[in-house]
C-alpha cells in the first residue's frame, strides 16, 4: 500500500506542475453555461479522458515489460515469483532503466535543463494546436476527447510514471500505477476547473519541487530494486505485491 500511496502523493504534488501546463487547459475548458452540475460533468469527463490515456499508457508499458521479460525467458511461474529468493535479470534491468529515467526527470523538476528540449518537440506543438479548437466545442463528447488527447501531451511527469509502470512487468500493475498517479492529479485539476488559478506561482514552484522529490524517491526505490542485493529486492518485492 505504501507504494501506491507514494504514487498518489507524487500525482498530487505533481499536479502543481500540471497546473502550469494542463491547468491552463482546465481553466480554458471553463464552466458550462448550463450550471454547476453540467460544469462538473464537463470536468469529470475531461479528467476521465485524461485518466484513460494514462491507464492505457500504463497498461501498454506494463505489457511491454512483460513481453520483454517473457520473450527473454526470464519470467518464472506466477505462483513462485514473489516468494523466490531473487529477482530475475530482466526485471532488474527494467527497474534500473526506469529508475534512472525517473531520477533524470526528477532532476529536471529541480531546474536542471536538457529534458525540456526533448519533450517540446514537433509532436507536441502539433497536438497543442489541434487541441485549441476543441475547447470551445459544446457537448459532452468534446471534453472527453480533449481529455484523451491531453493525456498524450508530452509531460516529464507522465513519462516518469510510464517508466515506473514498465518496470512493474505486468499489465494490471502497470495500469494500476497510472490509475493511482492519475487519481492523484484529480483534486488539483478539478479545482482548477472550478476555481481558476488559486495558487500563487511561488506555491506552485514549491509544489513542483515537492513532486520532484517524490519522483526522485520513487526513482531511487526502483533503482534499488534493480541493483540492491537480494535482501533489499526481496523486501521491496514483498511491499510491491502486498500493495
Amino acid at each position: 500500500m505504501t507504494y501506491y500511496a507514494l504514487l498518489f502523493l507524487a500525482g498530487f504534488a505533481g499536479s502543481f506542475h500540471c497546473i502550469g501546463m494542463c491547468g491552463g487547459f482546465a481553466c480554458a475548458l471553463g464552466p458550462d453555461p448550463r450550471g454547476a452540475g453540467a460544469t462538473s460533468v464537463r470536468h469529470i469527463l475531461y479528467n476521465t479522458g485524461r485518466l484513460t490515456s494514462y491507464c492505457f499508457l500504463g497498461a501498454l508499458a506494463g505489457g511491454l515489460g512483460q513481453v520483454i521479460c517473457t520473450s527473454l525467458g526470464l519470467r518464472r511461474d506466477l505462483g513462485t515469483s514473489f516468494l523466490s529468493v531473487s529477482l530475475d535479470a530482466g526485471q532488474r534491468a527494467l527497474a534500473v532503466l526506469a529508475g534512472l529515467l525517473m531520477i533524470i526527470m526528477a532532476l529536471s523538476f529541480f531546474g536542471l535543463r536538457g529534458w525540456r528540449r526533448v519533450t517540446g518537440s514537433f509532436g507536441s506543438s502539433t497536438l497543442v494546436n489541434s487541441l485549441r479548437s476543441l475547447l470551445r466545442t459544446p457537448g459532452h463528447a468534446a471534453p472527453l476527447a480533449f481529455g484523451v488527447l491531453n493525456g498524450f501531451l508530452p509531460c516529464p511527469l507522465v513519462y516518469a510514471m510510464v517508466a515506473q509502470a514498465a518496470s512493474t512487468v505486468d499489465v494490471l500493475s502497470g495500469c494500476l500505477t497510472m490509475v493511482v498517479f492519475g487519481l492523484g492529479t484529480f483534486p488539483a485539476m478539478l479545482a482548477m476547473g472550478g476555481l481558476g488559478r488559486l495558487l500563487a506561482p511561488r506555491w506552485r514552484q514549491r509544489g513542483v519541487r515537492l513532486a520532484g522529490g517524490f519522483i526522485l524517491a520513487l526513482g531511487l526505490i526502483t533503482l534499488g530494486r534493480g541493483v540492491l542485493p537480494m535482501a533489499g529486492g526481496h523486501g521491496m518485492h514483498h511491499l510491491w505485491h502486498i500493495a
Binding site: 490515456s53 501498454l60 479548437s133 476543441l134 466545442t137 463528447a141 468534446a142 484523451v148 495500469c175
Partner: protein, 737 residues
C-alpha cells in the same frame, strides 16, 4: 465527398491531389484534399473562427481513442491472465462490454475510410482504404459472432486499434506534410492575394490580378508587395530574396522602384503600380511553381503505377494466405494472419516518397529566386556529371569595354561615328561598348539605314549612302571585302591575348568595300565565377566552357575562372553538337547560359539552366532559372537537387523494402495485426520525417573565394551590390554574333 479535379494541389499539404483526392466544404468553401489526413489537419488548422467542423474531427479522434484504449486495456488484461482462475465467470460480461465499446469505435473511426473506399469503388478503383476497411470489419464481424454465439477469441482490439492507428498516422503525416509546404504557401497564394487599392479617399481590397498600371497601392509593414511599382509616399526596407536570391535589406525611398513579391519590412508605403498585377515576375514565378508542382517526374510515375497495382495484388495475397492457413490453423488464427497481410501492405509511403521531397526542394529554391520548371529537372540535375557554361553574360559580366582601336588609312573618330550609328540597331553587348566609347570621345553617331543582323557574323547597313559592315573576319570574307594585312596582323595580336575583335569596313563610291579598322573589346569575368566553378568541381562535376567567341577570349576567361576544358567559336548549332558528344562520353549534362541566345543549347542539354533570364518567364525554355546575378547560387542548387534525389531514393528504398519484408512476415504469420498497423502508420510518418530533413540543409552562401580585394570582407557574407537592373538589360542586349 466529391472527387477532386486531377492536376490541382491539395489545400493542406500543397502536393498534387492525385487519385485519392476529394473535395469537401470547409467554412463554406470547397477545398480539395489529397487524403483524409490532410482534410482533418486542414480543418484543425483553419478552424480558428467557427470551429465546429474542425473540432468535430478531433472529437471523433478523441472519442474513438477513448473507446479503443478502453478496449485495448481490457483486452490486455484478458490476455495477461488477470481474469484467469477465480474471476473466469466475469469473462462473458467483459466480452459484452468490449462489444459495446467496439461498435461505436468502429463506426466512428471507420466511417471516413469506408466513405473513401465507397466513393473510389464506384469509380472502379481500389485504394489502400479498402484494405483497412476490409481488415477491421472482418475482425469486428468475427468477434461479434464470437460474443453472441460463443467460443473463440475476440479481436475487437485489433479492429479498433487498426483504425485508430491509421487515423492517427494519417493525421500526423498530414501535419508533417504541411510543414513541407510552408515555403510554398506564399507562392501559391499569390494569385488569390489581395492588394489594398487606394481610390480617392477610399481604400478597397482587390485581387492582385485586377490591379492595372497607375493604380495606387498601400502596403503595410510586414506585407508582401503585390505589384511592381514606384514609391509615391513613405520609406522602408525591403527584402527581395524571392526575386534576386539574396536575403538582404534594401533601403527604399520615394521614387525608388519596388518589385512584386518582395517583403516590405518596416515602413508603410504607397506605391504607384507600373504594370498589371498578373504580369509581374513574381506572379510569373508563382504560376510556374504551380505548374511545376503539378507535373510528376519519372520516378513518381513509376511509383504511382506500382501503387496502382499494389492493392489488388495485396487483396489476392491476403486471400491466398487465408486459404493456406485455414487448412493448418483454426479459422480465427488464419483470419488474423490474412488481416496482417491486408493491414501491413498499405502503399501510402511509396506514393509519398517523391512528391514531398520535390515540393520541399522546389519551395526552398523558389524562396531564393531559383525557379524549377518540373520536378524531373531537379532529378536530372542531381544526376548530371558535367556542366557546360556559356561564356558571355554567364561567366563574364557581359559588358565589354572598348580597349583598342587600330585603323588603316582613316581617322579613329570616323570609324567610331559610323560604327556607333550602325550599332544603334543592334542589341549586342558590344554595341553598348561602342556607344559608350563614342560618348566618351564626344562623337555623334551617324545615322544608319537598312541595318541587318548577320547571325553569328555581325552587322551590315548603309551609312551616308555607303554600305558599312562590322563583324568578324568571316563577315568580311563573305562580303568579299579585302582585309589589309596590317589590320589582320593587329587582329591576330589582339585575339591572341583573348580579346573580342571586330572589324569595321565600308565601301567607297559604291564600290566593293574593305576593312578599315579593327577594334578589340575586353569582357571581364564575374567576380564570383572562379569560386562557383571551384565549388562545382568540389561537388565532383566536370566543368567545360562552350563559347561562341573565338579561342583567345575563351582561353583567357577559362584560365581566369579555372576551367580546363573549353571549346570556342561555336555557333548555336555547333554547341548542340558539342553537347551531344559530351553526353555520349560523360552521361547526363547540364548547360548554363543566359537563357536568351543559348536556346538550342539549353534545350538539348538534360538540364538547361538560365542565369538572369528574359523578363517574360512564360517564354523561358530553360528547366531551371536562376535569378539575374545568381551564378553563385549554382553549387547550392546542385547540392539541393542531389539532396532531393537521395531523399527520394532512400524514401523509396525504405517504402519498398519495408513493404517487402513486412509482407513476407505477415504472410508467414509472424506479425500481429495491431503491430503491423502501428509500424505501417509509422512507415509513412518516417517517409515524411526523412523528407523534412531537407529543411535542415543550410541556405546558399556567397562564395568567399571572390577576387575582390576591396569588398572581400563584405563579399564573404553577402554579394557585393551591383547594378542589377543595368546588367540584366545588358544581358538582354546580347545577340548572336
Amino acid at each position: 465527398m466529391m472527387m477532386a479535379t486531377p492536376g490541382t494541389l491539395c489545400r493542406h499539404c500543397l502536393l498534387p491531389v492525385g487519385r485519392r483526392g476529394f473535395t469537401r466544404m470547409v467554412n463554406g468553401e470547397g477545398c480539395q484534399f489529397c487524403c483524409y489526413g490532410c482534410c482533418i489537419a486542414h480543418q484543425v488548422k483553419s478552424g480558428s473562427g467557427d470551429a465546429s467542423e474542425a473540432a468535430w474531427f478531433l472529437v471523433r479522434l478523441g472519442v474513438g481513442s477513448f473507446l479503443s484504449m478502453n478496449i485495448m486495456l481490457f483486452s490486455l488484461l484478458v490476455y495477461s491472465g488477470a481474469f484467469a482462475g477465480a474471476d473466469r465467470r466475469v469473462l462473458p460480461t467483459i466480452h459484452l462490454l468490449l462489444w459495446a465499446l467496439a461498435t461505436p469505435a468502429v463506426l466512428i473511426l471507420g466511417e471516413p475510410f469506408l466513405r473513401e473506399t465507397w466513393s473510389q469503388a464506384r469509380r472502379g478503383r481500389l485504394t489502400s482504404s479498402a484494405l483497412i476497411v476490409l481488415g477491421s470489419l472482418a475482425a469486428y464481424a468475427y468477434s461479434t459472432l464470437a460474443v453472441f454465439h460463443g467460443g473463440g477469441h475476440l479481436y475487437f482490439d485489433t479492429a479498433s486499434m487498426v483504425l485508430m492507428l491509421f487515423t492517427l498516422g494519417r493525421y500526423l503525416e498530414a501535419a508533417g506534410r504541411a510543414r513541407a509546404s510552408r515555403d510554398l504557401a506564399p507562392l501559391l497564394a499569390a494569385e488569390s492575394e489581395l492588394a489594398t487599392v487606394v481610390e480617392g479617399a477610399r481604400e478597397r481590397r482587390r485581387p492582385v490580378r485586377e490591379v492595372r498600371v497607375g493604380m495606387l497601392i498601400r502596403v503595410k509593414p510586414g506585407e508582401r508587395i503585390p505589384v511592381d511599382g514606384l514609391i509615391v509616399e513613405g520609406r522602408s526596407h525591403t527584402d527581395e530574396a524571392v526575386i534576386t536570391g539574396e536575403s538582404r535589406h534594401v533601403a527604399k525611398e520615394v521614387g525608388a522602384a519596388v518589385l512584386a513579391g518582395s517583403i516590405n519590412l518596416d515602413g508603410p508605403l504607397l506605391i504607384r503600380s507600373s504594370g498589371s498585377g498578373g504580369e509581374s515576375r513574381w506572379a510569373q514565378i508563382c504560376r510556374s511553381v504551380r505548374d511545376a508542382l503539378q507535373q510528376s517526374s519519372r520516378t513518381q510515375r513509376i511509383a504511382d503505377r506500382v501503387v496502382g497495382v499494389f492493392v489488388p495484388i495485396v487483396l489476392a495475397l491476403a486471400a491466398m494466405t487465408l486459404l493456406y492457413w485455414v487448412q493448418r490453423l483454426p479459422l480465427d488464427q488464419a483470419m488474423l494472419t490474412a488481416l496482417s497481410v491486408l493491414v501491413v501492405a498499405c502503399p501510402c509511403a511509396v506514393g509519398l516518397a517523391a512528391p514531398m521531397a520535390h515540393s520541399l526542394g522546389i519551395g526552398q529554391l523558389a524562396r531564393h529566386g531559383c525557379l524549377v520548371r518540373s520536378p524531373g529537372a531537379l532529378e536530372a540535375l542531381a544526376c548530371a556529371r558535367l556542366i557546360a557554361f556559356d561564356k558571355t553574360g554567364t561567366l563574364t559580366l557581359g559588358r565589354p569595354k572598348l580597349v583598342d582601336l587600330a585603323s588603316d588609312g582613316v581617322e579613329e573618330e570616323e570609324v567610331l561615328a559610323r560604327l556607333a550609328g550602325l550599332e544603334r540597331h543592334s542589341e549586342h553587348g558590344l554595341a553598348q561598348a561602342i556607344a559608350m566609347a563614342a560618348i566618351e570621345r564626344g562623337l555623334d553617331p551617324i545615322a544608319a539605314e537598312n541595318v541587318q543582323v548577320v547571325p553569328g557574323r555581325g552587322l551590315r547597313g548603309v551609312v551616308l549612302g555607303e554600305s558599312v559592315a562590322a563583324g568578324n573576319a568571316a563577315l568580311m570574307c563573305e562580303l568579299g571585302w579585302q582585309l589589309p594585312p596590317v589590320l589582320s596582323a593587329r587582329a591576330e595580336e589582339m585575339a591572341s591575348t583573348g580579346h573580342s575583335v571586330v572589324f569595321v569596313g565600308w565601301s567607297e563610291n559604291a564600290r566593293v568595300g574593305r576593312a578599315r579598322a579593327v577594334l578589340s573589346f575586353d569582357d571581364t569575368p564575374l567576380p564570383e565565377a572562379a569560386g562557383t566553378i571551384d565549388a562545382l568541381r568540389c561537388l565532383g562535376l566536370r566543368v567545360t566552357l562552350l563559347s561562341g567567341d573565338h579561342a583567345g577570349a575563351a582561353a583567357r576567361v577559362a584560365a581566369t575562372v579555372g576551367v580546363d576544358e573549353w571549346q570556342a567559336g561555336l555557333l548555336p548549332e555547333a554547341k548542340r553538337v558539342a553537347l551531344d558528344r559530351y553526353r555520349a562520353r560523360h552521361g547526363a549534362i547540364a548547360m548554363v547560359g543566359d537563357g536568351l541566345n543559348d536556346g538550342p543549347g539549353l534545350a538539348s542539354a538534360d538540364v538547361g539552366i538560365a542565369v538572369g533570364s528574359a523578363t517574360d518567364l512564360a517564354r523561358e525554355t530553360a528547366d531551371l532559372v536562376l535569378p539575374a546575378d545568381g551564378l553563385w547560387l549554382l553549387p547550392w542548387v546542385v547540392g539541393r537537387a542531389r539532396a532531393v534525389r537521395s531523399t527520394i531514393l532512400t524514401n523509396l528504398a525504405w517504402a519498398f523494402g519495408y513493404n517487402l519484408i513486412a509482407l513476407t512476415c505477415a504472410v508467414l504469420g509472424l506479425l500481429q495485426p495491431i503491430l503491423a498497423a502501428a509500424v505501417m502508420a509509422g512507415s509513412s510518418l518516417l517517409v515524411v520525417l526523412n523528407s523534412l530533413r531537407l529543411e535542415r540543409l543550410p541556405g546558399p552562401s556567397y562564395p568567399s573565394a571572390v577576387q575582390q580585394p576591396t569588398a572581400a570582407a563584405q563579399a564573404a557574407c553577402e554579394p557585393p551590390p551591383r547594378q542589377q537592373g543595368q546588367r540584366r538589360e545588358l544581358a538582354l542586349l546580347k545577340a548572336e554574333w
